[in-house]
Symmetry: C2
């Protein structure tokens, strides 16, 4: 077993063992690029360490050998008073988890080696600066001393010295700071700072290993579905310094623009700085163009390297580089994170450039990221009050209440509020709040700052580095010039322009560009799963069709009854519930209205299938609550009833558990007139359209079937209407059922012979399978997710072991008795990429989702086909 690989021995295919960073450092070394030498401790070593709380035997020898090799290579020795070797210690998992785990730079410094470094560099200030940075970083990252203690100390010193910027600190100041930092460490850890470099190295390696299980890394893995048992590699690399003066610097470069996808060399850097200064967003870097002027040779070399890397990796690269006294070093390359817009453009352009094929292109775009493109943007014609402008860090637009801490953003969002998280800068600790917020605004940091990178990954709108504003988290306000915005005030962010707008700005629909349409076209060539939309109105249907829906998978008829002019008729029907005649009279008045609804939808859908679900909710939803006295009074007057009588009716309709009550087909069976009216409306609408020469394809869907007898009973009602209208029915139609009760899945073999199609209602199915209602989970589900009792909210993504088991059983049993049974899904999961992949795997015919999710579903379906 080999625990350590020098960069010269690995390759990009060894990500599993060396992590992404290590594999790419090795690959670049192999390509002959100027990578500072070093070696990688494998992920397997990490896993061994975490399980056994110690190293595998033989590891220490390998570490010694590799360190010796590195020392030889660099002609420097760790801990050498004359010529000390300094190294960085960085984590690097197989799957990138930016900023989630620990990094230590400048390792190897102590009171002795710093003198050697001074004599070598002849730059005392740089050396003490490096030393104090190392002590601070080591203290924080490895020894767990709060960052703020060090910040306070430096501020105090600056105040005492009457200076404002860190760069104004002298070598002497920095030297004293090192001692102050060491005292802070002594105080908070009850141990002295470890002077011995080998001890520093050991502790740092272990800190990186242990950081695999820190809370923010676990949260990140949960959010991104990364397994918890793959561990991280540790990269130990000779230090190079971007902070050795004006001929040094450090930066980040992208081979294409990660926001727009445009094929230009894009990036930013800071002169005389270490890499963490760029990433942390403490100073705002300058664009790469300036480097071309400041260091033309370095710039040319960088351009040639980036071309090589993109051609080598066949993907847009995110490259970290450092210039040490005019010499270029490449510290990292990886596939660059990008906006949805950029992802689509890069994928389609790379196909045209011959760099990748269409299938690869399809796999390059994360379906969920498309939300960015599909969500509304700010109406350009709207009159808005721009109060500040920052960097357009992640496109899109978002409106919400201003909140200043991640915790509060998370809590507010739990209660249904839309929030904008406003911070000076963000850090990995803020991840849960960022996830919960609609958008992020930061006052410092660039396009590659933590906030920007994370938001692009999440497909969330972000305005970063907005120096126009001053954030005062303590007083819960920020100022933009004269304007003061308090916690709870509403602002709108435009992540595409960087504008910060006061109040709620009007939004408009996204314009989808050619690259997007092209990619969508490719998905259709690949995928086997059809994509329909859930649409209740002709307007929804139009949007769905525009986004490429191949039919309507769920048209909920009851929403139609809530309209103001209809609800009185609905109430009339309910109030005459014990009198079938009167009930029928009220329903007869609803009939032409429903018919009109359906005719319009059929017209829009041009002969594509339209699945119409018969009435589903409990009747009491249409009446006011018993304790809404005012409403009861009004309604009683309106309906010419006594208040007592109306209250009696409402009380009678009250259910203990309405979700498990008199609804769905149970209503249709006990009040057959209701379903008869709806079926009549559907079919007469279809007949009218057909007679007008339009193609129609209605599919009648019966909700909440638990027993085939129920379906038979409802079909009898439907067949009665069909019998009456049969002369006019010259088109195809189907009669099928929702599958939303566990029992329906378990007896699918009995139900299938009676159904032309099945459609999984996974919302209800999930609730029944788990035995919880979405209305009531607020008391424990957040706690469950927080404690990891549930890794994922099963209402967002299909719970494959429980609900999925039922679905698989249903598909198997259903097709056992009806081989070619058409099966779809119309729960909210129909728009979730992971669930779509599952639906593809278990052999469904289509998914149906909200209109705006149709493109996401098309892409996810194509990816599912390509993966399986």
């Amino acid at each position: 077993m080999k625990y350590i690989f020098p960069f010269s021995e690995g390759s990009k295919d060894m990500k599993e063992l060396l992590g992404g960073k290590g594999a790419n450092l090795a690959e670049m070394t192999k390509l002959g690029l100027p990578v500072p030498p070093g070696f990688t401790i494998t992920t397997e070593t990490c896993n061994y360490f975490l399980i056994n709380k110690g190293y595998p035997s033989g590891f220490q020898e390998e570490l010694k050998e590799n360190l010796a090799e590195l020392e030889l290579n660099m002609s420097k020795n760790l801990g050498d008073g004359q010529n000390p070797l300094l190294v960085s210690v960085r984590s690097g998992a197989k799957i990138s988890m930016p900023g989630m785990m620990d990094t230590v730079l400048n390792l190897g410094l102590n009171d002795t080696t710093v003198l050697g470094l001074i004599s070598n560099t002849q730059n005392e200030r740089f050396c003490y600066d490096a030393y104090r940075r190392f002590v601070q970083m080591f203290g924080n990252v490895v020894l767990g001393v709060d960052h703020d203690h060090f910040e306070e100390a430096i501020c105090e010193l600056k105040e005492k010295k009457g200076i404002k910027l860190d760069t104004e600190l002298t070598a002497e100041n920095l030297k004293s700071l090192v001692q102050i930092y060491k005292e802070i460490i002594q105080k908070h850890t009850n141990s002295p700072f470890p002077e011995q470099p080998s001890e520093q190295l050991r502790l740092s390696i272990e800190a990186v290993f242990n950081s695999w299980n820190n809370k923010r890394a676990c949260t990140y893995r949960n959010l991104h579905g990364i397994p918890h048992n793959i561990g991280t590699a540790v990269n130990i690399q000779a230090m190079v310094f971007g902070n050795k003066g004006e001929d040094s610097g450090t930066g980040v470069a992208f081979t294409r623009n990660p926001s727009t996808g445009e094929k230009i060399f894009y990036g930013e850097y800071l002169i005389n700085a270490q890499g963490e200064d760029v990433v942390a967003g403490i100073r705002t870097p300058v664009p790469l163009d300036k480097l071309k002027i400041q260091m033309p040779t370095v710039y040319e070399e960088l351009v040639s390297i980036k071309d090589r890397l993109e051609n080598h990796y066949h993907d847009m690269q995110d490259i970290e580089f450092t210039v040490e006294q005019g010499r270029l070093f490449i510290l990292q390359t990886r596939n660059g994170k990008r906006t949805a817009h950029a992802a689509v453009r890069i994928a389609t352009e790379m196909v045209k450039e011959g760099l990748i094929d269409k299938h690869t292109a399809l796999l390059r775009v994360e379906p969920n990221q498309l939300k960015q493109l599909l969500h509304p943007s700010i109406d350009p014609k709207a009159k808005i009050t721009v109060i500040a402008k920052g960097l357009p860090a992640s496109p899109g637009a978002a409106t919400g209440k201003v909140i200043f801490t991640a915790d509060e953003a998370y809590e507010k969002a739990q209660t249904g509020d839309q929030v904008i998280l406003v911070r000076k800068e963000t850090s990995p600790e803020d991840i849960h709040g960022m996830h919960a917020a609609q958008g992020i605004l930061t006052s410092t940091g660039g396009n590659t700052s933590h906030a920007a990178v994370v938001c692009r990954g999440m497909g969330k709108c972000c305005v970063a580095g907005c120096g126009d504003i001053i954030v005062n988290g303590k007083e819960r306000k920020f100022t933009a010039g004269e304007i003061v915005v308090y916690e709870g005030d509403i602002i709108t962010l435009n992540g595409t322009t960087g504008e910060v707008i006061l109040g709620e700005a009007p939004m408009c629909e996204p314009e989808l560009d050619g690259a997007f349409r092209e990619l969508m076209q490719w998905t259709d060539d690949v995928r086997t799963l059809k994509v329909r939309a859930n649409a209740d109105t002709p307007e929804d249907a139009k949007v769905a069709l525009e986004f490429g829906a191949e039919g309507i998978g769920l048209c909920r008829t009851e929403h139609m009854f809530f309209a103001e002019e209809r609800i009185p008729l609905m109430r009339e029907m309910i109030l005459s519930k014990d009198n079938p005649e009167a009930r029928k009279k009220a329903l007869d008045k609803l009939l032409p209205i429903q018919k009109q609804d359906f005719a319009q939808i059929f017209e829009v859908m041009k002969g594509l299938p339209v699945t119409i679900r018969l009435f589903d909710p409990p009747l009491h939803e249409f009446l006011p609550d018993i304790d809404q006295h005012k409403r009861i009074q009004n309604l009683a007057t309106e309906l010419n009833l006594t208040i007592e009588h109306l209250k009696d009716i409402i009380t009678n309709l009250h259910e203990v558990n309405p979700m498990l009550g008199h609804r769905g087909c149970r209503l249709g069976i006990t009040y057959p007139e209701l379903y008869a009216m709806q079926v009549r409306a559907i079919l007469t609408a279809a007949i009218e359209c057909h007679d007008r020469g339009l193609a129609v394809h209605p599919e009648i869907e019966v909700p909440l079937i638990g027993n085939v007898s129920e379906l038979k009973a409802v079909k009898k009602i439907i067949q009665g209407v069909i019998e009456e209208l049969k002369e006019g029915i010259k088109f195809e139609y189907k009669i099928g059922t929702m599958i939303e009760l566990p029992r329906a899945c378990l007896t699918a073999d009995e139900i299938a012979p009676e159904a032309d199609f099945f459609s999984f209602g996974t919302n209800d199915l999930t609730q029944m399978t788990y035995g919880f209602s979405r209305d009531d989970v607020g008391t424990f589900l957040p706690y469950y997710l927080e404690k990891g009792i549930l890794v994922e909210d099963p209402t967002s993504s299909i719970d494959q072991s429980g609900v999925g088991f039922l679905m698989k059983t249903c598909v198997k049993l259903g097709r056992q008795t009806k081989e070619n049974l058409e099966i779809g899904i119309c729960g909210e999961h129909g728009g979730d990429p992971k669930s779509i992949e599952f639906c593809h795997e278990i052999g469904l015919n289509y998914v149906s989702c909200s209109p705006y999710r149709v493109p996401i579903a098309r892409l996810a379906a194509a990816q599912a086909t390509l993966k399986h």
Copy 2:
């Protein structure tokens, strides 16, 4: 294919084809008993007829041949003016459905044949009586004319003639009645009465076939779980007459007493009557002893036949006989229905007599029937007001509100009322009301009347033929001498003595006799399924143990909290729900009380396993409803809170679907102090008992697990307490889980490694699988059952295709990862014999049911072992 079998060709093993009655008639014919000759049309013919609305080809020829054979045999011809053959046409399914289907007697009479009959019998009155009975029966049964029309006509005639009894009608009166009846038929059917005997026969056969699907037959089959597709046979038999004078008669005899099981010849008969007079309960018959005096030879012959029959069938026989002018005919034999008491006595005594073996004996007692023995009887020391006395038709005791129609009895019972159905007599149309009532009281009819037979079958208390009372259904009252009892008044019936008691009489526990204990002992030798009881208190536990429970399968701890002195503590806990410290304080006060509960139960159970379920219900159950203003006010004062604050808390606890809300382990996980307190109470109680030298075996059960992580989380709480108390724990204990969510079944392989046992909570599991709550099914479930959409209420007997599928999956998956996993059931289904058989089949280790059901479960478990 043979459609008809003469009695001489069949046998008792041909029940499937010939029905029970036909097979037994054939068997008796084979035995040489005096059975009037005849033939049986097969059940297959019936099924063919019902499906194809017509006869199979060849049937008519067979019918002709058999009829000719019968005519030859009897030397009489159907429709012969000189010597007419009269026949009966009777239904007879494989499984006895007494009174459910149609019968026609005296078929063959018309204005011509009646004259032939008169000249043969020289008894004009008898002949016209037979004729008018035939026209009435045919009109009612075959032609569907309401019974009341004929009754009115006869009453009118009697009034006109100034007579009271039917027997006072002269031949002339009866002759005119025939014409009146025919006019009634003409009026109500718009057709003349069919004079042609072959037409009469055809119509009667078809009427019997069609009666298979009449409503009361369908209801009966639904109630008794008889398949709907097995059809009925039709028996056509030469008539013999018990109403030819004082040397004729008809009766019913049992080879042993069907009420007590005593081995005595038991029965009753009516002189000069047809069989229907006995069954319908219109006249009250006399005991068989009288026959011994009146017709000693006939009696002797009957005794010898009954001995032969019982020895032949190895079971107690119910024999119908007719004496025609001194000659004995046997019309039917079948296994006699009997009370539970009789069933147990007969079964055990027959073993001793060597007639059957123990296994057969065990299969002879219907487990559900044991309820009769196990239900309380009237306390003999109680002061009661007996207002009347009738026949002790079905033992036991019952109290309820007096109701006079079956429909109202059914409706009242639906609302939870306990009712006593009081009728002059009952008929098969009343079956739903009888089922719903606690007991039945009739003013006419004997021990073999419809009411008596049906009640014994149902195990329901019945006082029949209570001539002391006059029932006035119209005015909704009955009188017993001076006393008037109105609808809604409460009476008590003693079915064991025949007493009718005013008001509610005190009941006491049943005394179980030696035969019962012996039979129960035999069940224990046979069965593999263990039987435990659901018991929440030491008192319940005592009863359970007495009935032979082998442990407690479900001890619900929350019921303990509802006691008056505890609920304030519970409320204190709830009201401090956001403050773990205060919560713990309130719980600390509950701890000693809970400990005491458990200690007492452990003591009673003497080391048998006691499964204690941790707290399950939602917290708001312990607080008043928000609109109970008075209670809110009191509670606020009591707790020193403002009304608003209390209302806020209650509103916060309100759930839309409490069944799917914050309850079970979800509460335990979010409020860990609660479960910790309970576990501490259980274990300290056990430690104390153990220290006192008592054997204890606690099993801690976690409710509402849907995910193994939940169980792990709760186990962590439990383990924490165990860790604290481990020094004292020197006994075995288990930690397991309820299985009551579909997801728990589907992921049983994941849950099993964490659980020492599973226990199916089939109440909740059924509700989740069907997606309905027991509190809300009232709006549609009765309708479903009535329309046959559901054949059986799945909350009474396990729905094997849905819920059972999940249970089977759970057992399979659970034992896949834990081979010897102990699995039980503690839902209400645990006391249902059919469900118990299912539990045996899928390999459960035990069932747990209410204490009073333990003997039923023991017997059902033994039968399951014997059947499989």
